[in-house]
């Protein structure tokens, strides 16, 4: 057993993104592909609780529906179970900026969008950040401040976050 199973899972997903990009390029040499990866946006203790697995599937479906209505083909998709929680991915035939825009819209506009992270990577697996695209940073679930500062500063307790997650799902 590793000393850092959650960190190992992140690294595994990171490698998977690169591998997936290579695999898709081989399978669809003519396609311009971009990738989306959905994971739960909450602390690991909540991600592995099993209570919120359905959200990943829900957002995978929502993203597929959005892509479909934008006339964008989905080349491949799948779900994964990591030691730090569930994940799903899809490869879409579009440029990464288009996919990122659609992903950010879902994160911002869906009633439970704040509970999901949709990471987008380009055809070689390089991630696109909100900052790269000029979008505002994500807000903290609990206090609405810049989420990365609350997370890096460990500003909120697990129970505080868990309460907030439950309240968002009850909406």
């Amino acid at each position: 057993m590793s000393r850092h199973p959650v960190l190992d899972a992140r690294e595994l997903r990171w490698r998977k993104k690169r591998e997936l990009a290579g695999e898709t390029a081989r399978q669809f040499p003519e396609a311009r592909a971009a990738f989306a990866f959905c994971t739960l946006r909450m602390p690991a203790a909540l991600r592995i609780s099993g209570k919120y697995h359905g959200l990943v599937a829900l957002f995978q479906n929502a993203l597929r529906k959005t892509l479909g209505s934008s006339g964008i083909a989905i080349l491949a998709f799948g779900t994964e179970q990591y030691v730090d929680g569930p994940g799903s991915w899809l490869a879409a035939e579009c440029d990464a900026m288009t996919l990122k825009r659609l992903a950010v819209e879902l994160e911002e506009e869906h009633p439970q969008g704040a509970l999901i992270d949709i990471d987008v990577a380009d055809s070689v697996g390089n991630p696109l950040s909100r900052r790269d695209m000029g979008y505002p940073a994500r807000k903290c679930l609990v206090c609405g401040e810049d989420a990365v500062l609350c997370s890096a500063g460990e500003n909120h307790s697990l129970s505080e976050i868990a309460d907030r997650v439950e309240r968002m799902l009850a909406k």
Partner: protein, 89 residues
């Protein structure tokens, strides 16, 4: 102890950090620190990176830290892994 090969540890996921170590000629260490919270935590990230590199006795390396808001314990674990990987023969 010199860096023998180019390695990475970590990821660019939210709340993580990607450490890239590449060998350099000589004994010196070059640090490049990028962080989305550079204003708030940049100084501490550099301090931890330099301290761990020194403690490991690593030389002849360029260490690139790409931080996505990692906790200090995450940064330390990633640095430890990257240094281990870069010096493993």
């Amino acid at each position: 102890m010199k860096a023998l090969e180019a390695v990475t540890a970590g990821s660019l996921e939210s709340s993580d950090v990607l450490i890239t170590i590449t060998p350099l000629d000589g004994e010196g260490v070059e640090y490049v620190i990028d962080s989305i919270v550079i204003k708030q935590f940049g100084k501490r990230i550099r301090q931890v990176t330099e301290e761990m590199t020194r403690q490991a006795g690593l030389g002849g390396a360029r260490i690139h830290v790409q931080d996505r808001g990692a906790l200090e314990c995450t940064l330390r674990a990633r640095l430890e892994t990257a240094i281990e990987r870069s010096t493993a023969s």
